[in-house]
Symmetry: C2
Subunit: 360 residues, 2 copies
Amino acid sequence: MSRVYNFSAGPAALPEAVLERARNEMLDYAGVGMSVMEMSHRSAAFIDIASRAETDLRELLAIPDDYKVLFLQGGATAQFAAVPLNLCAADSAAAYVDSGYWSGKAIAEAGRFCRATVAASSKDSGHTSVPPRSEWSLPKDASYLHITPNETIGGVAYDGIPEVDGLQLVADYSSSILAAPLDVSRFGVIYAGAQKNIGPAGLTLVIVRGDLLGRARKDTPASLDWTIAAEADSMYNTPPTFAWYLAGLVFRWLKDLGGLEAMAEINRRKAATLYGAIDASNFYASPVAKANRSWMNVPFTLADPALDKSFLDEAETRGLTNLKGHRSVGGMRASLYNAVSQEAVDALVAFMHDFERKHA
Amino acid sequence: MSRVYNFSAGPAALPEAVLERARNEMLDYAGVGMSVMEMSHRSAAFIDIASRAETDLRELLAIPDDYKVLFLQGGATAQFAAVPLNLCAADSAAAYVDSGYWSGKAIAEAGRFCRATVAASSKDSGHTSVPPRSEWSLPKDASYLHITPNETIGGVAYDGIPEVDGLQLVADYSSSILAAPLDVSRFGVIYAGAQKNIGPAGLTLVIVRGDLLGRARKDTPASLDWTIAAEADSMYNTPPTFAWYLAGLVFRWLKDLGGLEAMAEINRRKAATLYGAIDASNFYASPVAKANRSWMNVPFTLADPALDKSFLDEAETRGLTNLKGHRSVGGMRASLYNAVSQEAVDALVAFMHDFERKHA
């Protein structure tokens, strides 16, 4: 068996140690005589797995006690609807900052349920930066302000948490949660699909401050109602148990590594390696404003797009996979999530040098 | 490692051959160099996994070409909302047959979105049978008629597919799909949570006739909209890829076994073994009307409920687990899903004999 270097934007690389443990426990978890997949979610063994995962996540992110942590299904897409349904009356306003593709999806979905207004947008500049805070127009009556701290497709990231004039801040952290420490107390709600930095696709985390519960509209489907989920410890109906277990293994892997301060340092160095290589070359270029370059998703272009296919093909032969950029951006994209090692980034940069020498 | 006999109602036992294969492929699927969990859902390798799973399911259930098969998230609970949102205008009626706990949940959730009327109920007799067809009152103007062919908690099953006067028939087949052949053409929609006969929790199958698409209400969250899912081949957003893969392994296991005719014969014999033992004894009893006894979920009681705890404890020492009945019914429940072997049922019956001899 030989493992490749996987730069997929999601579902994405998982820590090998996590996969090995899941493999070893696949037919018999801790002597229980069955797979985690086969356990009742009400069993003592699974309740232990579930609560340990939550405890470890709370420790990693230093989540304050007055926040609930929910383990749900449906991805960020389901939360695009859940956010207005749980926080906003049908005739009320909600404000969104448009920093790219996924902001746009969130805005469009919210528009089905409330008056979704765009407080700021970087659309005119091709979504290559976050709209500067000084240009945001925040409606005082908005039920919340929604941001996308890291745009997976554009590779555009916020430089810190913005000040929002007392509005409830809601954030789709799908592609950068757990990449670095985070001040949860600045947010009303944080949500994230699991398939980048948390675990396998099919699990969605929601971290919501307790006082925001109890406001869901009557027409909220039970599966999207945070209050119902919170009251049932995310077991109103059967949760995605195996994904929850794997997320727990990832959380423990992060703790063993030294937590999010240590992870942030690793991620900072990985990103510096790749952006450094791009900036040092006239052959490669980053379309993203320097202040908003994502540590997690690094889009880059080749000076001659006619070489794109050769680049991808040759990369593949070196075991460097999933480097093709999203169709809406073109070029390349390397996603450097937590489970992507410095070694993988070094191998990518070495290949980029070789490719440039050969084709420049 | 020693595996137990697992009679859990769900999440439930999976075929050992499926778990072994998943284990062997955990770090490297088919030489691709990564786990299925790490693959982009848009990658050639995953598209192949996904479409093979659908092809095998279509073959197993002989699904007509004009039906779409959707691989979704959220469990049957999410579909309890999706059914009215996709099929029924806000001011229109939908009819439900109440045959137990899960019918009741479906009715309550539908009531948020349309006029959900109860066409028949076995509540007065404690939900120990399906309401006789002759007593159903079908409103002509109902957008659909919803049934629960197998009640997981009550162990109550329909004896065949009812004739419904031309109404669209919608069925929650969560706990009996794939247990036997099924005439899909009799239904407008069939849905099922995966965690009984399909695969791990976190995947939900929806089989919907094509002409029923395109009717979703404007306030349908995208994650619950069948038309959006159908148009995107269940990849409007990231699907639960690993659960989809495991479902595919289960479908292949069923095909290797000889398909659903063969599976039905195995299930018929397992159920006959257990009901036979119950009926032959004055120590054990089944609360369910004979015509409506489920092959999948077998609730039974002990003559003296004071012995319940001893029964469960002693069963556990013999490697027979998850036999406790649901709190709303009491007593015991043995779930005999496809992955529960005749050997497991024989071991349960042997224990029941021993326990009776010792305590009667």
